[in-house]
Amino acid sequence: MMILALATEVSALRERLDTHEQLAAAGRLPEPGAVEAYAPDADVEAARAAARRSLIERITRVLLEPDSPRIRAATADDPNE
């Protein structure tokens, strides 16, 4: 599943970028050691969880809309039925 692997990487990259920004906001340089040692507080983690969910919702949207025209079109004229 190429999309899942890519989405995982996009999510990880976004969190890394966020870590950089959080460090900068605290007046720190995003050195490798600081990035590795960074632990998000509850607010940051909640925002990240919401961003993960949002990304997952976008990727899986077609599966969450069972009555979507795309799915109906794909099954309506099934010759096997």
Partner: protein, 383 residues
């Protein structure tokens, strides 16, 4: 979703933690949102359409299969679940491989400590034959299964499973992945308030997730655990030591152990039976009867039944079709009390305790603890 840190748990980089979090979120979302949507789609769209053409709803699992395998939604769901599973092992596996030498060294140190009596013990048997049913398949698509060794004194499978199952359950098994084991111990205590086991055996103990709760529930007991897989046992031994527990672990086949008759007061298993074909499960029950002292109890935490409703049965078998769980139906279709009676137990001494699936209630709504107590006086001897 925070896993309790112990000496054997892998260290992860910033990005590995981020990947883990995404994969766990993906699993949770699929089970909590997409699975119910799929079920609704089946009931509201696929069943009426089928009924219109065939005069009634799909009446068998095969009919459901025909309907579902033509549904893009089901295909999407299947790709998503299987893809997430592969991604999970691949992601955690990379982190384990990176630090495998250090993990092996830690495990060796812990084993050396475990060897000095009080701290428990670890006995491996490289000559133990691996049953075909285990060797033939990588259970739940975990690369190499539980038994494969990729290095000397390997602990890869144990480290992979410990972190992997935590993400698989999106943290729902608790910080120590022990929720099912805690439930097993609690069910035994509740069902048999008088039980005070001196020796306990946990079958298929794996990383020890369900073994340590036995030590908590029965602090005076000597706790033994057996498993077919050496990498799991090495890991379990070191994990237990680092958490302050003394276990006696050995590499054995649960259907034919080397313990003498009547060695244990309590024998447990958690999520073991569904990884075994029916003949092996029946052999395991017979071995439990042989190993139990009079009044002793066997308690197995696993599927309690297999759904009869065609859609539920079809979806229950998803893991069999697509996630390398070939034997799952065998545990769900065991005959209670008959299969226990055949192993030597009395029908009146068989028990079943439903335990709603904590983290997968939607899907695994049929799990719990069941087993039997061995008669204080064996009727077959007194007759």
């Amino acid at each position: 979703m925070t896993q309790l840190k112990h000496a054997m748990l892998i260290d992860e980089t910033h990005d590995e933690r981020a990947r883990d979090a995404f994969i766990a979120s993906l699993r949770e979302f699929t089970m909590a949102e997409i699975y119910p949507t799929l079920r609704e789609h089946y009931r509201k769209v696929l069943v009426p359409r089928y009924a219109e053409r065939h005069g009634g709803p799909p009446a068998s699992v095969d009919r459901v299969r025909t309907v579902m395998e033509e549904s893009p939604l089901y295909m999407g769901y299947s790709l998503l679940v299987r893809g997430t599973q592969e991604l999970l092992w691949d992601t955690v596996g990379e982190a384990v491989e990176r630090q495998l030498p250090a993990l092996i060294e830690k495990a060796s140190d812990a084993s050396a400590k475990a060897a000095d009596g009080k701290k428990g013990s670890l006995v491996l048997d490289p000559s133990l034959p691996l049953p075909n049913y285990t060797a033939a398949v990588d259970i739940h698509v975990m690369p190499g299964g539980f038994h494969t060794e990729i290095a000397a004194e390997d602990v890869f499978a144990g480290a992979l499973y410990d972190r992997g199952v935590h993400l698989f359950a999106f943290g729902g098994l608790g910080p120590l992945n022990d929720e099912l084991g805690v439930a097993t111990a609690a069910a035994v205590r509740k069902q048999f308030p008088d039980i005070a086991p001196a020796r306990i055996l946990d079958l298929g103990c794996g990383a020890g997730h369900a073994t340590l709760p036995l030590a908590d529930a029965f602090p005076d007991a000597e706790i033994h655990g057996i498993d077919l897989a050496a990498p799991m046992l090495r890991y379990a031994s070191a994990r237990a030591s680092s958490l302050g527990y003394a276990l006696h672990l050995s590499q054995q086949d649960a259907t034919k152990t080397n313990y003498p008759d009547e060695s244990f007061d309590l024998i447990t298993s958690t999520l073991l039976l569904h990884e075994m074909p029916r003949p092996a499960i029946l052999a395991l029950f017979r071995e439990c009867h042989r190993l139990l002292r009079p009044g002793g109890v066997m308690a197995h935490h696993d599927l309690l039944r297999w759904p009869e409703e065609p859609f539920d049965a079809f979806m229950m078998a998803w893991t069999t079709r697509h996630n390398n769980e070939p034997y799952e139906r065998a545990s769900g279709t065991l005959k209670f009390p008959e299969d226990c009676v055949a192993a030597g137990f009395d029908a009146a001494d068989v028990f079943v305790v439903a335990q709603p699936g904590a983290y997968l209630e939607e899907v695994y709504q049929v799990s719990g603890i069941r087993g039997a107590r061995k008669r204080l006086q064996d009727r077959s001897l007194s007759e």
